[in-house]
């Protein structure tokens, strides 16, 4: 209890005023001149007595009013000491690091043992909570007082091979402290990896009511070799041209000679020695991957005996596949487009397509399911049956590339997508006499390598109304040039011009080959995935609205990851464990995903003690400012002001009654 502005208490002296008015002033009657006092007698005592009694309540109200007013301005407050307030109630949190690095030296088991010891020494009846954290924080329990439940939760913590994030832990702790409004004591069991710290220290800020007690499971950095990364082709088309490059890293290690092996489907295919400098990196290259057709489980391994054995191997998957089939439907007037597209695809290294070119009239007996991609080159006069079949195929995951040349523009309709073509726009006759690309989304896979299609001249462009399609590129007159439209689970990429070097000169530019190659790869579904992903990554199983067709995911142990309900509706799955995941997407197609632990976990350098102390200080008992903020006084000034208002109204009413009485008398 105290006063924020105690000098206002001097206002209490004003209480003397009503006392003077009510008590003292009554004896100082008004002097009045009168002609003669011959007929007067002194007769005052009884009247004064009666008046004093009658005004006592009014006096009391006025004194109270002034006293409360002075008190309100002095602004009394009550100091709510958080420690005192919660002397009996607090939450004791056990936070266990379960990241990949906790596999080293059996750290996770040690952490659980120590956590159980802490829980055993905890006073009975207090609230406790168990958290397990890696890249994300999992609440193993709510804040409970049941020791058995807490112990069971600790026992249930398992490694998730993700990268630990202290920032995420701090965020969750802040949320717990804010919602519980109780002091929180956190026992942190972690190997205190330096790489777990966020880039910004402010992300580690703890709430003032949080007391952090670290229990480091490692006090010094440990030497560790790891296969840091592997660069390998996702799709193996020609083994003679294939190449795998691995990076071997040493963390706090001396210079050493390591033996690096490449294994495919468990069979060591090649072994190479490598000199790894002290705490440095070395590269190893393997050529000629002799993998069988289909998916292969590949692994680059080093012979190493260190604290963390699980990062000595790096998994990746490759698919030995035949060229994918591409159906090229073109109008006879667009024969040049066939030449350019075929040349572009054949010159590509990464993309491998077996192109089958047909005229619209020859599409009657085609089986679309055997194609990875259909390319319509200004094919305006598609048979209705084929177009309907094409739409159905796209809805189930197929992809179509539409080049909308003059033929499509004349029909005023984009095939398959049904988009409206308003007109065929020609380049102006004055000025440059051609259009160029003004804006392009170079982040899109189809344009990622082709760039902004600089210097390409467009003479004829179909004016396609975008509708719900996404515009990827526009010409300088804002005409959409490249649009992507989703139809069911499939994709339609619409190029608002022809590929024949008549409507534009794109086929003559260097950007044409990567554009066609990347667009075909993107549409055929083999363009984006790397040979391996990091543990904790999210894998898309189906496009939006593709529910109903079941997807299947088997983890490295061969167990189903998804329940039946999830298999029918889940958009994606998180790949948590290192190893190979077998995936069958909703749109069809099998895939093998290689998952590796985040290699930042391989660096076992511990957080400096000073940094750890700074982190602790962001919580309770550390930074004074935080304590001051928490112990913010509860000011009562406004509440007293309300009472003042009430008393003032009462005084006013009594005063009116008094005046009325005086006038009546």
């Amino acid at each position: 209890m105290g006063f924020l502005a105690p000098w206002f208490l001097a206002g209490l002296a004003a209480i003397a005023l009503p006392i003077y008015v009510h008590l003292l002033r009554q004896h100082n009657v008004i002097p009045l001149k009168f002609s003669s006092l011959m007929l007067f007698e002194k007769h005052t005592q009884s009247a004064v007595k009666r008046r004093r009694l009658r005004h006592l309540l009014l006096l009391a109200l006025r004194v109270l009013l002034l006293a409360l007013l002075a008190l309100a301005f002095a602004n009394p407050f009550v100091q709510r000491d958080p420690a005192a307030a919660a002397s009996g109630a607090r939450i004791e949190i056990v936070a266990i690091d379960r990241s990949f690095s906790m596999r080293a030296d059996n750290r996770l088991e040690r952490a659980k043992r120590e956590a159980l010891a802490i829980l055993s020494g905890r006073p009975a009846g207090g609230l406790g909570q168990v958290l397990a954290f890696g890249a994300t924080v999992q609440l193993m329990t709510q804040a409970v007082d049941d020791p058995a439940e807490l112990r069971a939760a600790v026992q249930a913590v398992e490694s998730d091979d993700s990268r630990s994030s202290y920032a995420e832990l701090a965020r969750v702790l802040r949320a717990i402290a804010q919602t519980s409004k109780l002091p929180v004591q956190v026992h942190l069991f972690s190997d205190m990896q330096k790489t777990s710290l966020p880039p910004s220290f402010s992300d580690l800020q703890l709430a003032p009511s949080i007391t952090l007690i670290p229990h480091p499971l490692a006090t010094a950095s440990k030497a560790n070799w790891a296969v840091e990364s592997v660069t390998a082709p996702r799709r193996l088309l020609d083994p003679a041209k294939s190449r795998v490059e691995a990076t071997i890293a040493g963390f706090a290690t001396p210079a050493a000679r390591r033996s690096v092996s490449l294994a495919i489907n468990g069979k060591v295919m090649q072994t190479k020695p490598v000199e790894v400098p002290a705490s440095g990196r070395a590269r190893v290259e393997f050529l000629r991957l002799d993998a069988p057709h289909g998916f292969s489980r590949c692994e680059v391994r080093i012979d190493s005996v260190d604290a963390l054995a699980d990062d000595d191997a790096f998994r990746f998957s490759i698919e030995r596949a035949d060229p994918r089939r591409l159906l090229f439907v073109y109008d006879q007037r667009q024969a040049r487009s066939l030449l350019y597209v075929r040349a572009a695809l054949e010159s590509s290294v990464e993309a491998s397509f077996l192109m089958e070119a047909v005229a619209p009239g020859e599409t009657a007996n085609l089986t679309l399911s055997k194609y990875s991609l259909v390319l319509l080159s200004d094919a305006a006069n598609l048979p209705e049956a084929f177009e309907a079949a094409l739409k159905g195929w796209v809805r189930t995951g197929g992809s179509v590339f539409v080049a909308a040349g003059p033929g499509v523009a004349a029909r005023r309709r984009v095939p398959v997508s049904g988009g409206v073509v308003s007109d065929l726009r020609y380049a102006p006759r004055e000025g440059a006499r051609f259009r160029t690309v003004a804006t392009a989304d170079t982040a899109h896979p189809a344009l990622r390598r082709a760039g902004r299609l600089d210097n390409v001249r467009f003479y004829q462009v179909a004016g396609i109304e975008p509708g719900d399609a996404r515009v990827l590129a526009r010409l300088d007159d804002q005409t959409p040039l490249l649009l992507e439209q989703r139809l069911g689970a499939g994709k339609i990429l619409i190029f608002a011009s022809a590929l024949d070097n008549v409507s534009n000169d794109l086929p003559l530019h260097a950007a044409f080959v990567p554009f066609i190659e990347q667009a075909a790869n993107y549409l055929a579904g083999g363009e984006t995935r790397a040979a391996s992903v990091t543990a904790g990554s999210f894998l898309e199983l189906r496009a939006e609205g593709g529910a109903g067709v079941a997807a299947e995911v088997l983890d490295p142990q061969g167990k189903r990851v998804l329940s039946f309900a999830e298999a029918a509706a889940a958009r994606g799955v998180t790949l948590t464990s290192p190893g190979f995941y077998e995936i069958r997407r909703a749109a069809g197609g099998r895939e093998l995903a290689a998952v590796n632990a985040d290699r930042r976990e391989s660096d076992l350098e511990v957080v400096p003690a000073e940094t750890l102390a700074l982190w602790q200080n962001t919580g309770q008992g550390g930074v004074d400012a935080a304590s001051v903020r928490e112990s913010k006084p509860w000011a009562m000034g406004w509440y007293i002001m309300l009472v003042v208002l009430l008393v003032a109204m009462t005084e006013f009413l009594f005063g009116l009654r008094y005046l009325a009485g005086e006038e009546a008398s």
């Binding site: 009657v29 009168f34 009247a47």
Partner: protein, 296 residues
Amino acid sequence: MLQRFLNPSVLAGISGLELVARTVVEGFVAGLHRSPDFGFSQEFAEYRAYSEGDDLRYVDWNVFARTERAYIKRYRGETNTLVTALLDTSGSMGYSSHGVSKLDYARYLCASVFYLAINRQRDGAGIIVFDDEIRHFVAPSTRQGQLMRLLHALEKCAPRARTDFAKPFFHFQQFLHRRGIVMVVSDFYETPEKIVRAVEPLRHKGSEVVLFHVLDPREIAPKLDEPALLVDMETSDSLEVSPDYARTGYRVRIDAHIAALREQSRAAGLDYFLIDTSRPLDEALREYLSLRAGRM
């Protein structure tokens, strides 16, 4: 008859006592037009049967011609009478509760009487201003300019000192040699016995003495909202007075004082007339003259 009287505060706004007096007198004389002969010198006239030895000059021959009987006209006064005002200018006469002090009111009263006497009745008039001493004296006269002299004397009046009837009234007897009308204008803050004892000798010389008791309405009925410290305007003594007493005890005592003064003055052959300063002066004067005429 509807008679509009002049509010004293209106009189106070008129500069010049002559104008005040004229306004008052002309006003009430006009209201008394049916009996214009009322006046101080018109004492009385009576007829009686002629008897031997009577002076034939006083026989009313007009009456004799109509009735063949001889009647003698008799006059009580010899010639014009003398009006002398004794004006009390003690400190208490300065009291006022409504803009016109008792002294102002008394001055208007005197001025009106002087105007009436000199201009209308051709009587002589004089004034003696006193408090505890005789402050000013203008001998009664009918000379030219007498009214101006009297009014000048009235103008110079100012309230001061205390009232002492004994000392100045002893000297009045030396100034008043001739019979006439003596009007004493005062608030009479003295015991009735002392007042009557001091004034009574004037009556013994054959003069008609009228006591004009001038009081402020607040003196008759004081109003106090809260206890007040009253300060005597003559003695500067103070007294704390409660409203209750002012409402009850004082009223009883002032009423008793007025009643005693009225009774004792009449018992001594003195006329007594109480004037409230809130009352229109012409109305008061008219009432007094009417009463006086009725008495004669």
